[in-house]
Symmetry: C2
Subunit: 242 residues, 2 copies
């Protein structure tokens, strides 16, 4: 672990990078304890606050965790799927909101990715995944449900569909695409008729998954995408006229 004294970059950036490289290269392994802040400041010939800033940068990325007290310190963190999932959702949400990504673009991406999961989910889904899908469909039919709650249930339904594929990497990758859409979806107001159509498509998809028919699930998702985009188009058109 070395830094380049001739570099013009901030010291805390350089130190963070050096430690990060050490982790990626395997020089530091999971759960290994890093040298104490005092030792690091000595090693890199910088002050402790500078080292601390570097460590905070890494902590923000869940690359390390810190523990206080005797035999405490900074430890290389095993990046869990949950951590990665959370980061993915935050990043995707900000990306969509800050770059004025159109509803169509986000929607297209989301459904394209979901269709990739459907065939796997049709073969592998557990009874539990299917039960979750059915339960969310039931909830979506309840009267008095707010639009926000309807969207949340929609996300839960699709989450179960994706998780049914039994591939944690896929689930993680899809997290952003599905959850980041929620703020966009929340801009839509659903009439009772809209909800009935969507719930009907959800039922069709769930039936296909239950029957192990991936192809049918894919076409169901395609129809759902068309329906969703139509809905959004109408809502936005009506809003623009007003």
């Amino acid at each position: 672990m070395q830094i380049d004294p001739s570099s013009s970059a901030d010291l805390s950036v350089q130190i963070a990078q050096a430690i990060k490289d050490a982790i990626i290269s395997g020089e530091l392994i999971v759960d290994e304890r890093l040298p104490s802040e005092a030792e690091l400041s000595d090693h890199f010939q910088v002050s402790r606050p500078t080292v601390r800033e570097a460590l905070k940068r890494l902590a923000a990325q869940s690359l390390i965790r810190t523990q206080r007290g005797a035999s405490g310190g900074a430890f290389v963190n095993r990046l869990s799927f949950e951590d990665a999932y959370a980061q993915q959702v935050t990043t995707s949400t900000l990306l969509l909101s800050m770059n004025a990504v159109s509803f169509d673009t986000a929607c297209e991406a989301r459904y394209a990715l979901e269709r990739a999961c459907a065939p796997l989910s049709a073969v592998r889904r557990s009874a539990d995944h299917l039960a979750t899908m059915r339960a969310e469909i039931f909830r979506q039919g309840q009267p008095g449900l707010t639009d926000v709650a309807f969207c949340a249930s929609d996300v839960a339904f699709h989450r179960a569909l994706v998780d049914g594929a039994g591939n944690p990497v896929l689930s993680y990758q899809l997290a952003g695409a599905v959850e980041a859409m929620q703020p966009l979806m929340n801009m839509i107001t659903f009439t009772a008729r809209d909800r009935a159509v969507i719930t009907g498509l959800h039922t069709r998809i769930a039936d296909s998954i239950e029957a192990g028919d991936g192809g049918a699930a894919v076409t169901g998702l395609q129809d759902l995408e068309d329906e969703t985009r139509n809905l959004a188009r109408n809502v936005f058109a009506a809003r623009a006229k007003r």
Copy 2:
């Protein structure tokens, strides 16, 4: 922007969260300048180093950027697709390496997602994307290419395929899946025959994309996935026997 004095969490974590919330909620908008470190430390009633640690946490997530000098300070950063892309690749790479994700799992996820892009790419790809794919195929046929270079070219080929879909959200989401596979792919040694088979499949896929035949591209990708997984299985089996 307020913090809870009764909370037991580290102050720098609380402050970072408060600012992050302000950004997500839109209270702070893109390119807006945050108060100076001195003002923030005054506002939150903490010392400047503590404020700085909070800011470094946010900078590590590309939520803010800092500028030195007069009229400098911390500014809300527009999270670009490039930033998000880079974060995505790092996270995915670490996730795969730290959690001992099997080659099969990662490979399945990657190709499932790529197949989702193929139909869109067949319709929308520009001449430029197609040219890149052809160029990478040519490179892959060059004798004397190292395995690492071959893998890098493979990634570039698939990157062009994905980008051809013309959906930046999709490209961003796929970045992790495709690039994070590279370290795993690098563990494989490719015989001349292996390379010929892969390059042949690449050609088939490029032809399908050029012809606008998404279905053929999907089956091409399916065959490529099968081929890749076979290859990996053999390599790992041979290695285990040794």
